[in-house]
């Protein structure tokens, strides 16, 4: 089975939220999505301990 490309993923995700899927929008959102994915890579592989909990309202 072929992997969906980024354009397809972005278009499907926008459609799932009932957001506009015009070609210019999908292209621009896709560029930002790629940038967000790059940024996210700094966080997603960190060894956060299992006992770290997120408070329902952030406490400084």
């Amino acid at each position: 089975m072929s992997q969906p490309n980024n354009h397809d993923v972005v278009a499907a995700s926008l459609a799932a939220l009932d957001l506009p899927t015009d070609a210019d929008v999908v292209a621009a959102v896709g560029a930002h999505f790629v940038r967000l994915s790059d940024v996210a890579s700094l966080v997603m592989n960190l060894p956060i301990p299992d006992d770290v909990e997120t408070p329902s309202i952030f406490e400084p």
Partner: protein, 461 residues
């Protein structure tokens, strides 16, 4: 450029002069309105100026004095509020075209009401980046706000209008909001003071949201005394704001007289030094040398903290605006709408992980404050850039200029720490640069003590 700035007094002095009968509140308001009329063609700091309402409020202050009543601490002081704070009778635009169709606010935001009850006189609302998702205030609906120090350069954002209004002398104090740096970035670029208090210190009620879990609000001023005065007035319990924490007030003006000698101060190195230009590093070097600060601290996960703040902001902002994006996407600035939509479609696991990281990073930084009271870091990686700058070089890499303006503020606000952004000394003709003074949660008094010491020592502009 010619500016009325220097001719308009600070808030503390205006209030004192009004109390003593040396000027009237009406005169103070007229001076502010005249400054606005003179400066706005060059600066574009305001989205609304309400002279008649300001004159009526001034008349009430003057009548109080004539009747022998005690005047409140900001009596007769003109102020402006970023156009995301509700001001009764006016539409809260939040820098958008879409909100023009909203009904006028029926009551003042909590902080606006606080300033008014203290005798402050609201002269208008200030320009901002659309929906506060911005570090440059190059608003396509209301035009760009120009830096009062150099026309054609950014005033920073998203509270750029408030910072420019204060720096240009149109008003002595103004309100802003700061999710990722929107008070500190414009304060740095415009050469004024800005305070982002501890998350939960001040009520956010009546401030149009952006990122509910990170949003914060605070004042701008041209001097530390005025910043402290504004902060003292703005504090107070608001039972209608679920985000606010019940804590004893920080007595900022009193804290300015505290001894700073015992404070343990260190410079944030590593990420914060690497992501500063040589000019900014030199300015912060000078500050540290003047105060004898030779200790350094590193936050090894600062880059990840900035990344997580970026992810959470995009996700929560995207979710918050979902209905507007569905039905009015073309009424947003196009690129901003697309950024919000990219945030909205992030996988949920990413956002959850970013929040878990936030809790973990908070623990690590809290540990750092066992040995240090105040941390020092530059506020912006560079001085203000020309409007429209798309990319800039930082740390050997070409980076997006507008978004990177907040690279040094995001890791700090991400965990809710209180920060004063203060202007560093600059030579004539040089653009301003700000330094961040950062304390543990609820320790704003230490920031005011150190900033007062630094100002007296000549380490600040």
């Amino acid at each position: 450029m010619k500016s009325p700035v220097q001719s308009v007094e600070g808030a503390s002095l205006i209030a004192q002069q009004v109390r003593e009968g040396r000027i009237t509140a009406a005169a103070a308001v007229e001076q502010s309105l005249a400054g606005i009329a003179a400066s706005e063609p060059q600066i574009n700091a305001f989205t609304g100026v309400w002279g008649d309402e300001a004159r009526a409020a001034a008349a009430r202050i003057d009548a109080m004095r004539a009747a022998g009543e005690n005047l409140p601490p900001l009596a007769g002081v003109p102020f402006a509020a970023k156009d995301l704070f509700d001001i009764a009778g006016h539409v809260t635009l939040a820098g958008s075209k879409i909100n023009r169709a909203a009904a006028p606010a029926t009551e003042d935001a909590f902080l606006v009401a606080k300033l008014k009850r203290a005798g402050g006189i609201c002269v208008g609302a200030t320009n901002m980046g659309e929906y506060a998702y911005d570090f440059v205030t190059e608003n396509q609906h209301y035009g760009p706000t120009h830096n009062p120090h150099r026309h054609g350069f950014t005033a920073g954002g998203s509270s750029g209008g408030s910072a420019a209004a204060v720096a240009s002398g149109e008003v002595p104090i103004a309100l802003g909001s700061d999710t990722n740096g929107s008070i500190r970035v414009p304060a740095s670029y415009c050469g004024i003071y800005g305070l982002r208090p501890t998350h939960g210190r001040l009520s956010r009620r009546g401030a149009f949201p952006f990122v509910a879990s990170i949003d914060n609000v605070g004042p701008f001023a041209r001097n530390l005394q005025d910043l402290a005065l504004a902060f003292d007035v703005l504090q107070g319990r608001d039972e209608r704001d679920p985000n606010q924490r019940e804590r004893p007030n920080c007595l900022a003006r009193a804290a300015m007289h505290n001894r700073a000698a015992g404070l343990r101060v260190a410079r944030l190195d590593g990420f914060f030094t690497d992501n500063s230009t040589a000019e900014v590093r030199a300015a912060v070097d000078g500050f540290c040398q003047a105060l004898g600060i030779d200790r350094t601290v590193q936050w090894e996960l600062a880059a990840a903290a900035r990344a997580a703040a970026f992810m959470i902001s995009a996700a929560e902002g995207g979710a918050f605006h979902l209905q507007r994006l569905r039905h009015q996407m073309r009424d947003f600035e196009f690129d901003r709408a697309c950024r919000l939509m990219a945030g909205a479609i992030q996988p949920a696991a990413r956002v959850a992980q970013a929040h878990r990281f936030r809790a973990w990073f908070r623990q690590q930084v809290r540990a750092c404050f066992r040995d240090v009271d105040v941390l020092i870091a530059p506020a912006t990686p560079w001085t203000a850039l020309p409007h429209g700058t798309m990319t800039a070089t930082l740390n050997g890499q070409e980076v997006p200029a507008a978004a990177t303006g907040g690279i040094l503020t995001q890791p700090i606000s991400f965990i809710g720490l209180p920060v004063i952004c203060a202007p560093l000394p600059r030579a004539a003709g040089e653009l301003p640069i700000g330094v961040q003074l950062i304390a543990a949660p609820w320790c704003e008094h230490q920031l005011f003590a150190l900033a007062a010491h630094a100002a007296r020592s000549g380490a600040l502009a």
